[in-house]
Each structure stands twice: as C-alpha cells, then as structure tokens.
Symmetry: C2
Subunit: 320 residues, 2 copies
DNA sequence: GTGAAAGCGCTAACAA
DNA sequence: TTGTTAGCGCTTTCAC
C-alpha cells in the first residue's frame, strides 16, 4: 500500500537517486524531470520514509521530550508549545512520562537515544553525573535545572520567590512557612536559597513534600500549627492542597492564612479563592527548549526566563 | 560513540548475524556464545537501533497519539496512561497536538504513517471519510468517536447523561438547561440524544459553545435568564466557567442553581463548590486504546467504557 | 550453531 | 543532469 521511492522511480522511468534528489536537493534536477517525479509521487501518495532516510543522513527529525508527570497541569502547556514549535521545524516528538522514577527516566533516554536528534529533559530526576554521562550519546536541553555546560532553559524562580516574599512582607506577614517540593528539586533549592537570605522574615521550613495536591493536604496540619500567617508553596498544586487542608480545619484563606503558589496552572485560576501565584513561562520555555536543541551552534547556551507575581485572592493582610 | 551491532561482533569475534540472533532469537544461539555476546554488548553499551530494525521487520515499535489540544485537562491523564501502557509493551509514542485544526491533523497523520505501527486518534476533527481513507495506510484506534468498522474506545456518555438527569430529577429539578459543546462533537450529540427522550423534564438547549471556561462564562447570563434551576454542561471546563459567571451575578451554586459537568478533571475536584460531574474513564481509555491497537487480531473491536456520576457539592435540591 | 549474502528505503559520492 | 554503486544498522533466508 505504502509506496516507496522505487515505485515512484519506476512510475516515471527514472532512477531512484533522481527521485531522492527531487526531494532532498531539487535544484540539482532538471525542472522537467522534477515535475514528472513530483507528479508521480503525488499520484502514488508517496512520502519519504523518514526513518530510512535517517539511517544514511544521521538526522532523524525526531526529538524526545521527557517529563516526570504529564498530568501535572504545569506540563501540558509546555508540551503543547514544544510540540508546536517542533512541528514548525518539521520535527516529531516522542513524549515520555517517567512517573517521577529516575530509573525509568534513564531507560527511556537510552532507548530513545538512537531514534532522536536530541532530547528535552523537563525537571529531570536523574543525578547530574548520570545526565552528563548520557549526554555523551545524545544532545540534551534541560528545562528547570542547571547543569554545567549543558544548554538549559531556566525560569527565574529566585526572582519569583523574592517577589512573593516581598508581597507577603508588604501585607504585614513576618512568620512565613516555606513548603518545599521533592528532594533534589532545583526549583526547591532556588526557593530555599532566596529564603535563606531574606532579611527580617521568620521562615519555617517544611519538606520534602510530594509536588501534588496530596502533598499540600498532608502538611496542612503542621503548617497550621507552626504559627505562620502566610505560606509560600512549592507549586500551585501543593498550594491548592494546602488550602483544602486548611479549609478542613476551618482555617480561612486568605483571612487567617495567606497562600502563594508557583506555576500559574489552570486549577489555580479557577479556584475559590483564586490563587495568588508566581507565573512560570511554560509556553515560552517549551518553545525555547526546542530552539536551543535545534540550533546546534549554541552549545551550552542557557536561557533564563522571567517569572511574574500574579496577585489574586489567596493573599491578604496579616491578621493582627 | 554509539556502538553498532558490528562493534559488538568484532569485539567478540563472531559474525553480526550471531549478534543479531542473540537479541532477537536468543534460543537459537549457543549459551556460551550468547553470554560472550551479551557481555561485549553490555561492555560497549550497545543498544539495537530500533529504526534500522524496523526497516527489515516492518515493525517500528512506535505509535502515534494525536489529540486536538494537549492542554485541555481532559487529555493529560489519557496521554499519560496510554504512554505508560505503551512503555510496558516496549513502545514509544509520538504525541502530536493538532490545535483543533483538521488540516494539521491530516498532515500529522501522513508524516507519521511510515514511522509508526499505528495511531491513536483522540476526539479527531477529521471527517469520517478522510479517516477511513487514511486508515488504508496505517492502523487506527479512535477514541471518543464511532466510525464504522474501525476499532474504537468509547465512553458511555449517554449513560452518564441519564445518570445526571436522574440525579437532578431526584432533587426536584424540572426545568434544566443543557449547555452543549462545539458543533459536530460526538459527545454533544450523545447528550442531546438522551435529552430528547427524557420524559417529564423541561429541557432548555444552549449551544453551540466553546468547550472551555470562556464558553461557560459566556452563556451564564442566558442560562440564568431561562428560568432553569439546574444545568448539565458539556464538560467540566464549561461548568466551571458557568459557575463563575453565575457567581458574578450573585447566583449561588448549588443554592439557586445546580450544575453538573462532564469529565471529572482536576480543576473541578479542587473547585469550591466541588463540582458534581460525570466521570469519564480517561485513564482506562488510554490503556484500552493502546491494547486495541496492539492486538492486531481484534479488528474493528469497539470498547465502551462505563461512566459514573460523582456527586459532590455543585448540585442540591431545587429551590421551591 | 554460525557465517555468508541479500535486502529493507533511502542518500551520497562518483562516474558518465 | 542522470545513473551506478556502496552503504547506513539491522534481520533473515540459506548454506555449511
């Protein structure tokens, strides 16, 4: 059913290499022949087999996109954007979910390696050393993590955290709970870094936590008990879980406790109260990651994207 | 850097075909040789090139998953599940977003065809005729749509709609607004079919609408004005938008109007009031779709998955 | 049980 | 401008 270059060649009485040329170097073939070939190809519904082509050229026109959890609402917009950008460059993208498991992540990368021109690693859970090792076999662009000498798309979490802390301080909050994410998360570390140098604030640290609603729900009692009047959560999901847990204890947000999340995901925008959050430029990040991967020239380039505080309804003046 | 079958062959002094056999038909090779080959392969970090293998075997161990909008919260769990199931079968999956554009959808399928063993079409926007045509070149499994003779994974929307309507009737609602989705949506049609045969209920129809929060927000005034005491929305996003629009008009849910959505997406679970909804088995659908695609025997098999009403907080007794 | 040879669909020198 | 040839990495007869 599916026609090959041979069929086309036979159909218009030329050699296969001529057909090949019409597609990969059209200017090298006689206009008349070219149009004959094109007509025949169109007629047969011929499409070059990209995998076969890759065997000789070394370029697959495929890329991998590896992510810890597709259903974390933070990722879909990023995936969508990356996928769209890739399509614009005639690339297909393998999307793989590691289920937060480093072993799965490693195995996925290994099996993908030969089939792609590069892979986008989003918030990887693998160690730096392992990533560096794997990078010997396939080009990476890392999103949300900094690894020396490796192209990366970073979001300015520190900036966002400062914005958030300033906002809270401005509302009269002093004792603030910092609810972090999983161990080894780059984002978490950045947040803590900012917290460590925050002057005049009394920060209480909680972690590690699952980066999910459940994680937030679980720490809610501790957070409530610590005497903080505000909390900065690892991400919106955690923040939302936290709010829910607080509500179960009849603690109102923002009346009794203010809550800020990170990411700006859809559920936060729809929540009541609407979540105050640090918006992460996921769409832009997806696009940039693809560009960085494809412009082989820019080795080691690191892009840092701005974040922004979006004040909505989950933060308010500290109760006195 | 990346080693091939040749490298392994040379490393342990056997012919490439022996190495090939060790991986694809281990029982045909002498145990002693086998372990020598395996050792060498491991040593060199050899991984078979799947694309090259596909060239001879005709099986790529790749599949495509095409979806209209990755960032619609309904899809990520389905994608994740499909991806996980595929991984368990040693398959990789190309995920592509069509941006709701049929042309993009067609082009994507065409370029993917040679590179995959089959494709999962989720809520496709293409015409039946076109899908049937494309199916000549690559096996499909369609999700959320019925096309004669084509394997499909359906969710029992009609059942869910009946459940929802019964629930509302039981709460004393008679005049119920039906807020539909886009034109030509299979799901919308199913819902309307059920509505048409609902006895003793006074249904008011609104549509078509965008399948988003904005769509719900936009119809809120009309719905409020129509005198209905309850509404069945096309999906959760629409329901959420509706609730927000109603709130803006100071109409309380469920005190003044009850609202039911479809899908059971995360934002609905986190919303206040928590959304009453008809849960769609997205995870199961993703898994089943993969299974259907892979069990080539089951041609034309159609699976219909049950839906379930999840009563939460957005529905209550009709006000009298 | 293992090697030799052909071929999958395509590209890339090299000739003609 | 076009055809010839070789080969990408792998599998699969077919001999041995």
């Amino acid at each position: 059913m599916a026609s090959t270059i041979k069929d086309v060649a036979r159909a218009c009485g030329v050699h296969v290499s001529t057909v090949s040329r019409t597609f990969s170097a059209p200017h090298l073939v006689n206009p008349a022949t070219r149009s004959r070939v094109l007509a025949a190809a169109d007629d047969l519904g011929y499409r070059p087999n990209r995998a076969a082509r890759a065997l000789t050229t070394g370029r697959t026109f495929n890329m991998g996109l590896i992510v810890a959890d597709i259903s974390n609402p933070f990722f879909p917009p990023l995936i969508k954007a990356a996928q769209a950008q890739a399509r614009g460059r005639d690339y297909h993208v393998f999307v793989a979910d590691t289920d937060e498991d480093p072993r799965v992540e490693e195995e996925l990368i290994r099996t993908l390696t030969k089939q792609v021109d590069g892979v986008l690693l989003c918030s990887p859970r693998l160690s730096n050393k392992m990533i560096e090792r794997l990078a010997e076999d396939v080009p990476f662009v890392v999103v949300n993590r900094r690894i020396k000498g490796m192209p990366a798309v970073l979001m300015n979490v520190a900036q966002g955290a400062r914005l958030a802390l300033d906002h809270l301080a401005g509302l009269g909050h002093h004792r603030i709970a910092l609810v972090s994410g999983p161990i080894g998360s780059w984002t978490s570390n950045e947040m803590q870094g900012v917290a460590a140098e925050a002057a005049g604030l009394d920060l209480v640290f909680f972690g590690p936590n699952q980066p999910t609603e459940a994680g937030g729900l679980a720490v809610a009692p501790e957070v409530a008990a610590c005497g903080a009047t505000a909390v900065l959560a690892y991400n919106d999901l955690v923040a939302l879980g936290l709010i829910e847990g607080l509500a179960a204890m009849e603690i109102g947000v923002p009346d009794q406790i203010s809550v800020i999340g990170f990411d700006d995901i859809l559920p936060g925008r729809l929540n009541r109260p609407k979540l105050t959050t640090v918006a992460m430029p996921a769409v832009q990040a997806g696009r940039m990651a693809v560009d960085l991967l494809l412009q082989s020239g820019g080795e080691g380039a690191t892009v840092t994207l701005d974040t922004a505080l979006i004040v909505r309804e989950s933060t308010g003046r500290a109760q006195t």
